[in-house]
Structure formats: C-alpha cells, structure tokens
C-alpha cells in the first residue's frame, strides 16, 4: 500500500520515461572546477590525474579528469577556478585511499572523516554529506530517497536499476555511521523498476524496507518525513536534526564507490532531454565539465536553442547558455522553451492552498502583493520550499513563486518576522 503526504500534485501533462543505461562521458575537452577560497596545490602546466587533490580547503578539491592544468584562479580571466585540459587518457591518481579495514571496525567519526575526505555531496542540494549527517545525533532509521526530482526525469531510476547492489552497500555504510537499525527506501508508486531492483537486492530482509509514495510532487525531506512518520521538520531545521536523516540514492551509491575504490566524488549522473535534444539520455559526466559538451553525447540539438533549464521543471534554473559546468546538485538538463503564461489577477479560488505541501495559503500573499502591503504582512513565507506547486496549479498564472521569493529576500535583508 502506498503512503502519501498532504498537498502536492500530479501534473496532468507529465511524461514518465523508462529507465535506461547510464552513459559514461569523460571525454570533455576541459573541466572548470571552482576554487571557492581553496588553496591550489598544483601549478599551471602541471599534469594531474583523476582523483588527485588539486586544491586544499573545505572540502579538498579533486581533479575530475586527467590532463594539464591550464590556469588557476586567474583574476584576469574573471574566474576563481582551476581549468584542466583533458588528455583523454583517463589516468587515475595512484594515491587513492580506499577503506583500509572492514566497515564494522570504523567509528562514526572515522566514517564522517572519510565522507569529508571523499568530498561527497548530497545530490539533492549539493551540500556536504558529512555536514548534513553530523547534525544527526542519533537515528534509528536511515531514509533513502529513491524518487526523481519531478515527473519528467529518469536519472535516479536508471541509476538504481544499474547499481542497486552499490546502493545497498552504501546504505549499510551510512547506517553503521549513524547507528541506524533500519533503512527505508522511499520509491514512487510509478517507479516500479526501481522498486523491483531494490527488492531483488534486499530480499525479505526486515532491515531494509521499501516504502511506496503515492505519485505526487514534490518529494523532498519535508514531505517524506510527513508521509512516513506524520511528523513535521521545524522551520529552519533538517530531517537529520530530528533524527530522521534522508539521503538520496545517488549519494548512497557514491558513498559505497568511494569507500571501495578510494575515488572521491568526481562525477554526477543526470538526464538530458527536452524537445530540442536529438536523443534523450542519462549520462555520468565529470564535475566541472561543460554542459554543451555533454549534450553532444545525446547527439546534440535538433535546432539551435537558447533555453536551458538546469534542474526540475518546477524549481530549476533557466539559462540562455549551455556553457555552464556540471555541478553536484544537477538532476537534469532540459533543452526546451518554458511554457509561458499570461499573468492575471488572483481570483481567490484557493487551488494553491490545496496543493501546497507546506500548508501555506499562497493566495493570501497574492492578495497582499496586489494591495501592496509591506512584506511584514507576509507571515510564514519563510516556510515556503519553492516547489512551485502553487504557481503550476494557479488558473490565472499569478507569479506566486516570485512574490514569495521577494518576501523571503526582504526577510533575509531585514529580520522582519522575528
């Protein structure tokens, strides 16, 4: 029997794609890895290998391809990054350090230290996994999110179908670190392939259970906790803080791979699709690779297009260029023209409140905005997770997400609700 959470929606114009084989793509001509205040460990012209530390900081920055460093943090180039030109040899760094003893012998701190060393990021938000999990003081359950970011992608399902055993092993490592006695794999009702792949691995084990969520968007840690335990995560907190850590399936797979091979996180799995893409596909590409290069894997574009959506159709980011880099929280690249809507006045139908998973009444914010009330009146706007359900369902196309975002920005500038 499937479980559900309050609010949310099932888009009537959804496209459910089947899982497919993940294509590895490491033939990017170059990668640009942002330094973000880290100290370079290599110099321009030096040769680097896959998995080699190239900048020291929090966390350490690793080379994601083998090749030659072309420039570092050059202000004249207007970028704070290390650029590596690919030599197409895919040479792996010799100093990789896999787990040197059985997992059972690792302490919680040692595992967290390893997670930091391997620079593993949570694939849903891009934050460091060790930072997320260290907020959890004790946990009886570890929740693995095996759902897609929305109803239009297939990257997570494809990854799980291909690497279910790695998912299970990674989950065991994280369970050991957190002291959890049970792991819950949260799958979508329509994600039958992923469910079957997990069940084939776990068998009838009572330690690993699969929870099926009714097909509904958004699936995030707030909605998962609400659906599984009928509890709410306090505003400003995370699931880990209340003892119910949620980790995405891709991250758990990465944990196992890093512990078994010593290879830090150097790649990201995401889907490429859209009406302008010749062939939709799921690819694994090195972090920092140029997305325009990766799109070529799928056969390139049908016609020229300057509309790229990075992330979900509901809460992704629109860009006019594909000259951007692959980053750790990228779930998909969509090459399509966004659906345009004529913005009309709010008619107070209340449909937005019906679908809001955060139990807000976005209609009220639209009315306040119409009346030009100060942002102090927008109480609880900070609860909004920006899933976009309200604006999707709005029959008059009121730009609710933008209105709430403005209120949140005003709150951040001045602490107006406290």
């Amino acid at each position: 029997m499937s479980i559900s959470f309050r609010g949310g929606l099932l888009p009537e114009n959804r496209i459910k794609r089947k899982c497919e084989k993940v294509k590895n793509y490491f033939a990017s001509f170059s990668v640009a890895l942002p330094l973000e205040g880290r100290t370079p460990l290599v110099t321009e012209g030096s040769r680097v290998f896959i998995g080699q530390p190239i900048a020291d900081g929090y966390p350490v920055l690793y080379a994601t391809i083998s090749g030659t460093v072309s420039f570092i943090s050059a202000e004249k180039h207007g970028r704070d990054a290390i650029i590596i030109e690919n030599d197409f040899e895919n040479a792996v760094y010799s100093g990789l350090c896999p787990a040197e003893k059985p997992i059972d012998e690792f302490s919680r701190e040692e595992i967290f230290e390893k997670l930091l060393t391997y620079a593993i990021c949570e694939s849903s938000d891009g934050n460091l996994l060790c930072d997320n999990l260290s907020l959890c003081k004790s946990a009886k359950r570890l929740i693995i999110n095996c759902c897609e970011c929305d109803f239009f992608g297939n990257a997570v399902t494809s990854l799980i179908c291909g690497e279910a055993s790695a998912l299970l092993s990674g989950t065991k490592i994280l369970m050991h670190a957190l002291g959890a006695s049970k792991a819950v794999f949260v799958c979508e009702e329509s994600g039958i392939e992923a469910q079957e792949a997990i069940k084939n691995e776990t068998g009838k084990s009572r330690t690993f259970v699969t929870a099926t969520l009714t097909d509904s968007y958004p699936v995030c840690e707030q909605t998962i906790i609400q659906a599984l335990y009928n509890r709410e995560i306090p505003v400003g907190s995370t699931a880990a803080e209340i003892g119910k850590p949620v980790v995405s399936a891709e991250t758990a797979i990465q944990v196992y791979k890093s512990f078994s091979t010593g290879m830090p996180q150097i790649s990201k799995v995401f889907s490429i699709d859209g009406e302008y893409v010749r062939n939709s596909c799921v690819v694994r590409a090195p972090l920092g690779a140029r997305i325009s290069d990766v799109i070529e894997v799928s056969g390139g574009l049908l016609t020229a297009c300057d509309s790229f959506i990075y992330g979900s159709l509901f809460n992704g980011r629109l860009s006019d260029t594909a000259f951007e880099e692959v980053f750790a929280a990228l779930p998909r690249v969509l090459v399509t023209i966004p659906m345009s809507r004529r913005h009309e006045r709010c008619i107070r139908c209340g449909k937005c409140g019906d679908v809001c998973p955060m139990m807000l009444s976005p209609m009220n914010y639209a009315i306040y905005y119409e009346k030009e009330l100060p942002f102090e009146a927008f109480r609880h706007a900070d609860v909004c997770i920006g899933c976009g359900c309200c604006e999707f369902i709005c029959p008059t196309g009121v730009p609710l997400v933008q209105i709430i975002k403005e209120a949140q920005n005003a709150k951040n500038e001045e602490d107006i609700w406290r």
Partner: protein, 357 residues
C-alpha cells in the same frame, strides 16, 4: 512582474478552460429543460446570458473602460452567471425576469463587490433571490412538463398558466403532501419546477463533467445532500414515511442544482476540505430550517447565502498552521541542547518501534 522564475510548466486547466468546463456542464441541463418545456427555455437562457454580458460591459464602460476597451474582457464568467440565473427561473416567467436577475447578479453582487474573486455571495443565487423578492408571483408559478409555450411571447397569459399551471414538488411538500408521480419522476426530471433544477440525472451528469474538468470538489455538495437527507430522515414532517420524505427534501427544489453548480464556485465556498464539509453541513441544516420557517420560498437559496457570508470564517478556522511552524513555536520553549531534548521535541523514538517503517 517579469523574470525567469520557475515553474517552467503550468497546468492545462486555466481560468478560461475551467469556465468553459462549467458552460459544457450546463449543456445537458439546458437540453433537458428544452426537452421538458420547449423552445422558450432557449430564449430565457439567451436573454440571461446576453443581459449578463451586457451588464458586464456596461459596468466596465461606466467605470471608464471606454466603449471598445470594455469589450476586452473574458465574458465567460458573466455568461455562466446569466445562464445560472435563467436556469433558476420557471419557464413561465416573463422574458425580462432573467434579464433583471442577471443584471443584478453581475452589477450588484459581482462587480460592485470588487469584481470576480472578491464577491462574498454567489452572484447568481443572490441575483435570483433579489428577483424572487421583486417578482415573487412570477417566480413561483409552475407549469406542467411538456406544456410548451411561445418562445417569443414576453408574458404568458395568466389564463394559459391557469390552464397548465400546477404546484412544484416543493410546493406540494410545503402543503404537507408528496408529489403524486413518485420519486422516480423527480429523479428523472419529469415534473414541474425551475428550468435547471428538475432532472437529478442530468444534474449528476453535470457534476461528473465538473469533476472531470476539475471545477468541483465533491466534499461540499456531498456533505450538503447527506446532511439534508439525514436531518429530514430523522425529523420528518407530517405523516410521511421518513425515507421518502427525506428523498423528497433532497430531490425537490434547488438542492441538487446548488450542490452541483453553486458549490462549484471556488470563490464563495471554503478553500480547505474541512471548511468545505462544514459549509455543506451548515447548508443542509439551514435548508431544512428555512424550509420549515419560510414556506413558499426555497430555503436552500437563503441557506447558501448565509453560509457564503460565513465562508471567510470557515477559511480562518480550517486553515492549518504551516508545516513545521507549530514545532518551531515549541522550540522556543524547549532548548535543543542535548539528545533528550531533541527526542522530546519530536516525540518519543520508541513510538516508531511499533511501525513497520
């Protein structure tokens, strides 16, 4: 406001398509009315719609919208109001009655209230109630089914009405009796009554269309009908058999019509499911009470308008606290300093042990 903010996808059910869905749902009801009462129904509907559209234009023109500029609006909502007004009239009314009802509904109860979305009362029902007060005699004279009338005569002669006139099932109920043709005639709609309010079968079909086109949340209408049935069942009037009396209360008059069309109006009904149920229950109770207190006038209309006034209250009391807010309020009282405090904040972990997950 402009910008490249998500979401980049939107529902197909826009305001225009939703309104179109209501118009489509009205079609079988109107067709049944034409079958029962003849071409005069078409004339009444056309007059109601044209009057509503003209009233909308007139209001916009009077508000400074300009002669041509006032045409630049969506006339689907006024058209729905006009058609509903006409459907809530008996076929024998003079042709100006639906025109007046539509004009009052659109100008007074919709636009003077601030326009679409800001009206407190259901415009069509409020317009018809006002018209009933003005033309009570015309609005409460009914004719036999299949007694077709002139489609163009402004007023049907009283001598003709006397010839084919009869009491509606609701009027029979007020006089302590039951309609002699039985429940099946009420259910199938072969009985006297207002144009759109007879024919429970076609109204159910309209409800299905409204559900498919996402215009109707069933909670309000269902709770309304169930409440009225139960209260009539447990407190029957006269010597009628309880179940038959309860079915009569539900099937006669405008109960099902309002449950389908008036309660599909998202503006004047509560926005949360709890509020929707409360609204329906309140409507059912008040319909029964008003039908007892105010004979010769369908209490369902008054009940709906009273509950419309209470809608903001229902919205207020049924709106839950936003996600996580109650917890954070408690957080101010409980300092999260150690593991024990965290467990206290989220409840005991042991409770989870019984759960399979």
């Amino acid at each position: 406001m402009t910008g490249n903010y998500p979401p980049f996808i939107h529902t197909r059910y826009t305001h225009g398509t939703l309104r179109l869905g209501v118009l489509i749902a009205m079609f079988p009801v109107a067709a049944w009315g034409v079958f029962m009462f003849g071409a005069r129904v078409v004339t009444l509907l056309a007059i109601g719609i044209i009057s509503a559209a003209f009233s909308e234009w007139l209001y916009r023109f009077a508000s400074g919208g300009g002669f041509y500029g006032s045409f630049m609006c969506d006339f689907r909502s006024p058209a729905i109001t006009g058609a509903l007004c006409a459907m809530m009239c008996p076929v024998s009314v003079p042709l100006y009655v639906p025109a007046v009802a539509s004009a009052i509904a659109v100008i007074v109860f919709r636009n003077l209230w601030g326009g679409e979305g800001k009206n407190l009362l259901n415009p069509a029902v409020a317009g018809v109630v006002s018209t009933e007060l003005l033309f009570h005699g015309n609005m409460s004279s009914f004719v036999l089914p299949f007694s077709y009338h002139s489609a163009t005569a402004i007023i049907i002669g009283p001598e003709y009405i006397e010839e084919v006139g009869c009491r509606s099932p609701l009027q029979v109920l007020w006089h302590g009796g039951l309609y002699e043709d039985g429940v099946s005639s009420l259910f199938l709609g072969v009985c006297p009554g207002k144009i759109g309010e007879i024919g429970i079968v076609v109204l159910i079909l309209a409800a299905v269309i409204l559900l498919v086109t996402r215009n109707l949340k069933p909670y309000t209408g269902l709770s309304y009908v169930v409440t009225l049935f139960l209260i009539s069942y447990f407190f029957p009037v006269g010597e009628n058999e309880a179940a038959v009396y309860a079915l009569w209360q539900v099937f006669s008059g405008s109960v099902i019509f309002l449950a389908v069309f008036a309660m599909s109006d998202p503006v004047t009904t509560p926005k949360r499911n709890g509020g929707r149920v409360l609204f329906g229950v309140g409507c059912g109770l008040l319909t029964y009470v008003f039908r007892m207190l105010i004979p010769m006038f369908d209490g369902a209309y008054i009940a709906l308008l009273v509950m419309n006034i209470l809608t903001p209250l229902f919205f207020h009391i049924t709106t839950p606290l936003p996600y996580g807010v109650s917890r954070s309020a408690r957080e101010n009282d409980i300092s999260v300093t150690d593991e024990g405090d965290v467990a206290e904040q989220v409840g005991s972990e042991d409770r989870d042990s019984d759960k399979p997950l």
